[in-house]
Symmetry: C2
């Protein structure tokens, strides 16, 4: 993950409002798919409060070589083909866009016709998600939730050996902004002998990062840990909405199913590994007594710089708080460094038995809680299983989510000497059960 | 599920060899995708030992109206669009093909140019599988495997209330004939304190039916149980290959993952609900003391005829047995009636929280074991957890699968007064770990 001139914090953009933008300065340049008035989906890049139409930039002759090939692969407003090309074309595109959008770009007069105001556009899922896999690498989350089921053994014996994951539901992944309907489902309340069917009463969010797969691997051909980082095309935020009452009743012995499959929300921009290069950190040293990862999960470069230092936040806005004119309440602050396994380890493990990943596949990290109550990535943890409500600035209490609640996840890379890089919002409102 | 003239056992076909064919008489007419010499994928129908090219039949003007619309939707050799159209066009296609292929068809002279010998063609996955979900509705399998982990409580408390299922891996589903590479993975042998990584030593098959989804449902719009059968476009056989040593170590708390995701084999023909109408039977009466299904899973028509009477077989051929000129050894015989939940109940449950199914999604039933040792759908059960080997006709023993073993699943509907209907083979050979 090389630091180069595209990370220069002094770089200025010709797009008004981009410099110092909290998410999308010229040092970020995340990839996405948007539509404006006519509804046609176009590949785009976020720059400040604008969307740059990549297809229009290509048509205007402003992209050449590998960068042009990358955008041509995204025809039809689907980045899957671009992701499949891997790091070379993606980096070429970054470099040419950085030059095009710089304050001293010789083509700066040709940029305004390519721009749309972000507020005028709709963002879509950026790629066809073939398979979605959710991991469980947030060790504080695994410990906190495990404690509720197994006070004496919160972490199962496999946790520190296996990057535990499971298959999720791809069809119900939606981009930020699409509301989430409270699901019906079976649950067995503790005071009853038989299960009941009805709207979930323990609806929750989960703060995760999403990982976009670029070049895939053939069935039967595992990706060695040393190559795994090259298969990752970018990152997003991911809210793994969870119905805890449904989950508690259904999950044995085959894992979570309908408790999760009713909705997953992601931030629609693909933030590239290049944009996040300044925020790479060494994988956290394992506490004394923890086992070493098995060799297929060990790579010196990954140990040295495979983890991510990203500030994460969860914001909650309720109907009452909006009516009172209050801003969203910050429920938690956490950081992506609370991952026991790196994303490269997730990829290497996923493919270690021969399972094939395809371009556009999505991996979730699992909930990225920190060690404290105010850094928990789910209400299940914050409210200690629903026992201790949190108090909001509006005076309301929450054990779990109520109808009208709007949850926003935020991620930003901040580092002295570098521009701040953001992911854009991952936001959705809870609608009442139908 | 109406019985009509297309189920007449006396019907004869103009295609030589189709009458009395063990799988594909004119009363079956399963849908698939094949290629011949030029490699182009074409929609097709199996008739006897031949493949009928549906695109060629359409081009020849032999299909009209809804039937023509169905085949047009399968352009490009992908039946997803045809499945999405639902029962009307699918039934119209069946009726016109039945007439076209009848012995007294006025167009019988125009049929031969549409045919290819099955042995000359390659069968492909018939549709784009968006999501694959595997259920667990074989109650004998659930009991047998549960007993190995929990002798005192083989069935968990939710089993008779919830059609338990979980998300599977879509990317690694392959049609019959594609070999399966023995996976590497983490396992913790009982005599060791730490896990090891290496080729699975407990590779197994699982005998399942697959269920193809036709018209889907929108996110947030559950399919009522009374409508659920209409969402099913057909059936196949499914071998849910399983690495038991990997599974035992990884599966808690989120369920099976790499133990299954290295390969799933399906029979490539979509056997329609119409073809299987004669083999519908009432859902088995629940034993006294079992709870009634919750109302969202109860429908009188489903109770009366939502189950399936299909003979199932597992055949095993080893390298030694082939070298000795022996035929495959029948390891087990079972029946699809051993499902505790119907496929309509699976669909209604799956969507009950709002999860959307898409055309081409695939559901597995879970392993369909019978009550006896010689009707077990997995070696884990037959060998009682690997403790009691089975003896093959070749003189060999098997606790789990060895390299070179070839597993074939077979399904046939047999009923007095009706033609026998088969699924075609679901077959794959185990290759050594790479």
């Amino acid at each position: 993950m090389t630091i180069d001139h595209t990370h220069d914090p002094a770089a200025r953009s010709c797009v008004p409002g981009a410099d110092g933008h909290p998410d999308f300065p010229v040092q970020n340049l995340p990839l996405g798919v948007f539509s404006v008035g006519d509804g046609a989906r176009r590949p785009g890049v976020a720059i400040g409060d604008h969307l740059l139409d990549l297809a229009a930039a290509l048509a205007a002759g402003l992209l050449t070589g590998e960068a042009a090939r990358a955008v041509a692969a995204a025809e039809g407003g689907d980045l899957t083909g671009l992701l499949a090309l891997g790091a070379g074309p993606r980096r070429a595109l970054r470099a040419q866009l950085f030059a095009l959008l710089s304050a001293d770009s010789p083509d700066r007069d040709r940029v305004p016709p390519l721009l749309h105001e972000a507020a005028s556009g709709t963002l879509h899922l950026p790629a066809r998600i073939g398979d979605y896999t959710d991991f469980f690498v947030g060790i504080h989350h695994a410990t906190n939730t495990g404690r509720q089921f197994r006070p004496d053994q919160p972490l199962l014996p496999n946790y520190k050996h296996v990057p535990v994951g499971y298959h999720g539901r791809a069809s119900s992944i939606r981009p930020s902004g699409v509301p989430v309907r409270r699901p019906h489902g079976q649950a067995k309340p503790p005071h009853r002998d038989e299960p009941v069917f009805g709207p979930s009463r323990r609806l929750d969010y989960e703060l995760e990062l999403g990982v976009w797969i670029g070049p895939g691997n053939d069935l039967g051909a595992p990706v060695p840990i040393g190559d795994a980082a090259d298969r990752i095309a970018g990152f997003c935020l991911l809210n793994d909405w969870s119905a805890r009452d449904i989950q508690g009743w259904e999950y044995q012995p085959l894992g979570p199913f309908l408790a999760k499959s009713f909705a997953t929300t992601i931030s629609p921009w693909i933030v590239t590994p290049e944009a996040l290069a300044p925020f790479r950190i060494p994988q956290a040293k394992r506490p004394a007594g923890d086992p070493d990862p098995l060799p297929y999960l060990l790579d010196p470069a990954d140990q040295a710089g495979g983890a991510l230092d990203l500030d994460l936040e969860i914001l909650l806005s309720t109907r009452a708080s909006r009516e009172a004119g209050l801003g969203p309440h910050r429920v938690a602050r956490s950081n992506a460094r609370h991952m026991y396994w790196t994303v490269a380890q997730m990829v290497a493990h996923h493919t270690s038995g021969g399972c094939n990943l395809r371009p556009g596949d999505l991996l979730g990290t699992g909930t990225l809680s920190g060690p404290d109550l105010d850094s928990c990535g789910s209400l299940l943890e914050t409210s200690q299983g629903g026992k201790v409500p949190i108090r909001l600035e509006s005076g309301e209490e929450r054990r779990f989510l109520e109808d009208g609640d709007e949850v926003t996840l935020v991620a930003r890379g901040r580092r002295e000497g570098f521009a701040t890089i953001g992911f854009g919002a991952c936001r959705a409102m809870v609608l009442p059960a139908s």
